[in-house]
Amino acid sequence: MSRRVRIAVFLPALAVFAALLAWSLLAIPRFGDYRGPYGYVLNRVATPERHMTNVVTAVVFDYRGFDTMGEEFILFIAVMGVVLLLREKGRERPGDLTDAIGSDAVRIGGSLAVGVAVLISLWLIAFGFITPGGGFQGGVALASSVVLVFLVASWRAWKGVANEAYVDPFEGLGAGGYVVIGLAALIGGLPFLTNFFGPGVAGTLSSGGSAVFVNWAVGMEVAAANLVLFGEFLEEYVVPLARS
């Protein structure tokens, strides 16, 4: 396509999209104009009712826990798709790959950073219903902390801590655990995923009832899913290196 044709196609399209954008921008509510009633209701009732001080987590893992279960399985299936496409059975293992980081400072400093990052991630999950955070945020943070092992040490060290042989089961355990907690409520005669165990004391780790276990299940699933994902991608990167 010549430059002139490109411009002839681009300019009308630009005009149409600019007009549509301007039209919609003029119609959006003013900044801070909140129309829905649910935010007000939840801000008022969530802490007295569920004893969770982070209302976002109360919404995600309790009030709309069923939707979150769907979201969790979207991630599960997406990662399963990546594994189906990228994981090759009997592929040559880059066992003799010498990619260990030479600098002692990077290795030692980085290894210390791994511990700190893992601790912060676990804290994000554990206190997710008290302060900002939760299973999703803590889970991705946990997976990223483990990626540091590859960056500051070696492929072999990464394989030692994030081997699919034990990350895969954790992913299934996290995804399945969510459903099991939902079914536990059902067995107790309550609707699926109803928060049971009693609400506990707001602002402490023993608050939130069974939604706390849902939070941990999600944390486990998200961390493991991201580790599987990173593992498959890193292998795509490392195997050609070992071959050359």
Binding site: G32, Y34, V56, L124, P132, A141
Partner: protein, 82 residues
């Protein structure tokens, strides 16, 4: 009902986000683009914080600074090695 109005800090952050987003589009080299995109993602994290959405900021922080660049960098490395 208006529950909040824009404060100067939010205006500044929104402007920086717009500048960074333009920079991402204008960067032609993909490897550099990932770096610029990471910076843009970090500004989005700051935006979430100044808009009082710390939960979103936390997920955004990890996804934009680790998850996304890692996956894209490896995809580029893989497509170049073939």
């Amino acid at each position: 009902m208006i529950i909040a109005t824009l404060v100067p800090l939010q205006v500044v952050t929104l402007t920086l986000v717009a500048v960074a987003a333009t920079a991402v589009v204008l960067t032609r080299d993909v490897q550099r683009q990932i770096l610029v995109n990471g910076f843009y993602g970090f500004l989005l994290v700051v935006l979430c914080v100044v808009l009082a959405a710390p939960d979103v900021a936390l997920s955004m922080l990890v996804v934009s600074s680790v998850g996304y660049p890692l996956v894209v960098l490896i995809a580029i490395a893989r497509s170049r090695s073939k």
